[in-house]
């Protein structure tokens, strides 16, 4: 039997959840035995080369590109897992939710205390740039997500246990200490 195929991505996240994947330490070697990686920042495969079994999603959707990537994952992965608070509930990027985008952009590019050198007073609007969404969306409010692993980041042990459970089909061990929202 061929190995299950795993893909990962970071949308509106900080890569902290990916760091947490690496935090499984030497078990990463076991992981490589267990699964084959496809599209993922970990192996730098940029496009899906085949259908995958599991997709791990870090980060919520803050712009149109995030939505496209997420939909791409949904099409190419049998199981999607929201990894961490941002994927589950928008996380810290979602603290802008409810505030008009115009205000956010003006704060970021014109009026904020850290703005230096924007002499032209331009808010970036190049057509190449992804379009911001009206709010940061949790992933499951855009596509169907099968599992959720909370945490900021999710504990490495939780990620490990979840992956092993998904790959082996065994019931997942969830000791109290590993489920945390921070």
């Amino acid at each position: 039997m061929s190995k299950p195929i795993l893909a990962t991505t970071s949308l509106a996240g900080c890569f902290g959840c990916h760091m947490s994947i690496l935090d499984i330490d030497e078990r990463i070697l076991e992981l490589i035995e267990l699964v084959e990686f496809n599209k993922s920042p970990i192996d730098d495969i940029k496009k899906f080369t085949k259908k995958c079994d599991i997709g791990l999603i870090e980060g919520g959707c803050c712009n149109s590109e995030n939505v496209h990537v997420l939909k791409d994952f949904r099409e190419n992965c049998k199981i999607l897992v929201s990894l961490g608070e941002c994927a589950i509930m928008g996380g810290l990027p979602a603290m802008r939710n409810g505030i008009p985008i115009k205000e956010c952009l003006e704060e970021a590019y014109l009026n904020g205390p850290t703005v230096v050198g924007n002499t032209t007073g331009i808010i970036p609007n190049d057509p190449e740039l992804p379009m911001l969404l009206d709010k940061v969306y949790p992933c499951h409010e855009v596509v169907k997500i099968d599992y959720h692993l909370p945490g900021c980041p999710p504990r490495a042990d939780l990620i490990w246990e979840a992956l092993v459970a998904l790959v082996t089909g065994d019931e997942m061990k969830m000791p109290y200490e590993v489920i945390k929202f921070d």
Partner: protein, 237 residues
């Protein structure tokens, strides 16, 4: 009249004293009924509804219902626990609960309940309301994003003349807990600390300090809420 009241909770015979609320009686018998808006020594209000039990088949809040002779109470049933989990999830989607940035994380009772009930993701859509952070008072910050409207501060924190420092404003989904502009300025350090301690979440924060306890050593990092009351460890359930 008898002062000893006999009740059963999930079929277990328990003794209680007259005038006791179900939550208290259960606690004395080593049975944990999850609560959130309830606070020891403060008049119960039954606003969060998490302590809902079935009393002789009827849904009642255990924090507001006094025991009576022969009461048959259902508590730890899948139906009630599912209801409680749903209410916890409702509270999580109602406000803006960004645990990673909250000073109360690890001490927050809403978060602790979510851990206990293994809330991985709320079933309801997030409402992401636009709410204010009121830092205009010298001693405290009132962060409306995190407020769960449990009324604990309203009931527990009064000035020396018995006047309310906190109170509800408006009604329906627009309700919020306001701080009295004048009395808020006069808050003593002691009352400010009390307000923060009484708040089950991170909505009332004493200014100029925070994150005093490292992650891993906080109240609910290793032991579920309610485990101090229970005889049996909950991680099995």
């Amino acid at each position: 009249m008898d002062t000893i009241i006999r009740i059963t909770i999930d079929g277990i015979e328990c003794m209680a004293s007259r005038g006791q609320y179900i939550v208290e009686a259960a606690k004395e018998n080593g049975i944990y009924i999850p609560t959130l808006c309830n606070y020891p020594g403060v008049k119960p209000k039954g606003s969060c509804r998490i302590c809902t039990v079935k009393v002789n088949g009827k849904l009642m809040t255990a924090c507001t219902t006094p025991v009576s002779q022969g009461m048959q109470i259902e508590n730890n049933t899948s139906e009630l626990n599912e209801l409680r989990k749903a209410i916890i999830e409702l509270l999580l989607v109602e406000g803006n609960h960004f645990c990673p940035s909250c000073e109360k994380s690890g001490f927050c009772e809403l978060q602790a309940l979510a851990y206990r009930f293994k809330v991985m993701v709320p079933r309801f859509p997030y409402s992401f309301p636009l709410r204010k952070v009121d830092a205009s008072h010298p001693k405290i910050i009132k962060d409306q994003n995190r407020c769960i409207l449990c009324k604990r501060c309203i009931r527990a924190v009064k000035d020396d003349k018995g006047r309310s420092i906190f109170a509800y404003r408006r009604r329906s989904h627009r309700v919020e807990v306001g701080v009295d502009a004048k009395l808020g300025k006069l808050l003593t350090d002691e009352l400010a600390q009390k307000a923060m301690d009484v708040c089950p979440v991170g909505s009332i924060i004493v200014k100029e300090k925070g994150f005093a306890v490292p992650i891993g050593e906080r109240k609910y990092d290793n032991k579920p809420i309610g485990s101090d009351i229970e005889n049996i460890s909950v991680s099995k359930h």
